[in-house]
Symmetry: C2
Subunit: 427 residues, 2 copies
Amino acid sequence: MEKTEGEIIRAKLDSDQSQSQISHLALDIGGSLIKLVYFSKNNGSSDDDDGNNKHLVLQGRLHFAKFETCKINDCIEFIRSKKLHFGGDAIVKLEQLSWYFISSSTTSLKVHSGVRLHDAPASDKILVKATGGGAYKFADLIKEKLGIVVEKEDEMDCLVAGANFLLKAVHQEAFTYMDGQKEFVHIDINDLYPYLLVNIGSGVSMIKVDGDGKFERISGTSVGGGTFWGLGRLLTKCKSFDELLELSREGNNRVIDMLVGDIYGGVDYSKIGLLSTAIASSFGKAISDNKELEDYKPEDVARSLLRLISNNIGQIAYLNALQFGLKRIFFAGFFIRGHAYTMDTISVGVHFWSKGEAKAMFLRHEGFLGSLGAFMSYDKHGLDDLSTHQLVQRFPVSGTNAGEKICCPLVGDLNDNDSIECGVYAA
Amino acid sequence: MEKTEGEIIRAKLDSDQSQSQISHLALDIGGSLIKLVYFSKNNGSSDDDDGNNKHLVLQGRLHFAKFETCKINDCIEFIRSKKLHFGGDAIVKLEQLSWYFISSSTTSLKVHSGVRLHDAPASDKILVKATGGGAYKFADLIKEKLGIVVEKEDEMDCLVAGANFLLKAVHQEAFTYMDGQKEFVHIDINDLYPYLLVNIGSGVSMIKVDGDGKFERISGTSVGGGTFWGLGRLLTKCKSFDELLELSREGNNRVIDMLVGDIYGGVDYSKIGLLSTAIASSFGKAISDNKELEDYKPEDVARSLLRLISNNIGQIAYLNALQFGLKRIFFAGFFIRGHAYTMDTISVGVHFWSKGEAKAMFLRHEGFLGSLGAFMSYDKHGLDDLSTHQLVQRFPVSGTNAGEKICCPLVGDLNDNDSIECGVYAA
């Protein structure tokens, strides 16, 4: 006799409970970077009944990690060494997992996790959710090396799911950054949509988000993080993206960019509101015969490049937001990396072009939208009758400000391997 | 007793007629290039009465020339050697000159030229119209070296005046370019406005044009010709913009750009309509550790760079056109230089983003809008009561298609020193 969905989940969770640890993994394999999200139960953590016996809570951590896509073997080794593909130390192979925020406490981000066993013949297969183009490109490699089947999730679906989750569930997730000032934004979940999501990976996707699973990719640009790092490598000999970004802190873009004042002899072009300090032509001073590449400081080159790309993305994002009347623009993706000058340039660009009408916001977990979305997609098939949206409603966060009820332990910038203390609810 | 405007003009022209030659000069001094337009009367040309005795016609040529702004001394020497600052061989110093199209013949572009003498004390001053930032920056240098006073004209005013003139007066001026096919566009002067003018110099200005002198600079980007040439020099060691452009013809951008197929393992990302051959990340393949700058062919680098910049300008132009409901976008400026791949990329970009709604068009005299506009601005103060618009109406071109009445001798691409055979009407 076939078990009902609920029974399957109960059975699975009971089984998990008898094990010492539960780990779940999802991947976002992009053109430059692989982003991992995985959950591990704390050793010795006690279950929290949350005053509701129907729910078992596993205390644990959400871990984030990234690898360069060209070093996918390192990533595979990492997964193998941590046994993430076997559900960590849990012996039972998980096929589908649902995982989403349902409530909050002052000390942890709580998530709901439902798992179910696949029908017997298929239970030998271990499925791992993955998104990004690499989910297609590397599916065979991953199967060969880890013996697991990659279940591909649409990249845009995952980005939006990840963004919505973060915006609705995580306290102090979104912030503005202007003139060196970081300010957290309180998100009213009743007034979140529509917004423009700008995900800056190797390339850039711009997505108009109207709700959970309701979105349209309206634009994009090929001038993104891959351009910064690709051109930056060629121009500066830096050995890593982070080195290039760090270098740009020390640079002065005015050495290479042609400013309005350079053309106008130091004066503004005031009739059209261009200050003498505005950039008229990015890298425009490099047209001079007098200097070769080696005569420019790498830090100045890095700075000009960062400014060009950040400003360009800010402008295209604003123009798209304008087209659809979107006032809120969230910038995410691993290009930003909490870098002050990047965020400042984007913010100033959006502010300038929109005459203050539109607002640029950033996300603390900016690089992990896709992988979080893939993680959450385990739910999609496992609990067909319950959408994330419905579950959020079943376990509503009191008040209109979701963020206020949840406290993340992280208050500074998020580093690669920082994890989020969290709990898993089992229905 | 003060002479009337008409008398002054008559007097001046009579004076000119007694000389062997009349030359007029205007400059557009940009961040990278100085563009010159000057008129010279043909030796031995006979006056054409045009069946209207009120008009004297000087047959001659409109000449175009350009110099790198950093070599302004060469430009000054050129002006001196041709005595352009003295009105060529004409002895009488011209202070103000009006110059505009009024009619057409099958063999020449005819222009109307009015000049007037300044009041005696000021007649020692020779004024030359100039626009672009360099009109401000180099005014003192030009005065010092040539003894002439630069009369500054607003850059946007001049661009628009130049564009409107070309579109209304010159046959086979505007054309589309797609898939290697160049097609001239018939301009209906009764249905010309509004349009978007995208002038790609060192930087890029985007101007919504609603009529003669009616316009607004709605946007721009610092990623323009200066970026192509500046970054291109640093990356390829090319010695000139044209060499870089030429190099790009041979290149293959797929060597350096990261395509959708590179990320997706050769397949399309069909759900959002991105073909595997679409560029996901410009220069994105250069993130690879395996290759340094010297391992890439300069022609591939040039090609990727040209594609990045052309595509980006096309996209931003389209987004601005969309905002104002403009269906026609004219691309001009010295970045384009009639280069097939540049125009193709811009055209494809505009076509792609607008789903075929908007059309990219190019101008044969693309690089000389500003200098033509400055040339025409001599009229502004000399004939205050007659706007160019009114004069066009006084001497209407029969039919709705201005272009059909005028034939330029040039049918191929315009080179630096190509001139336009034309006549000057004197009222």
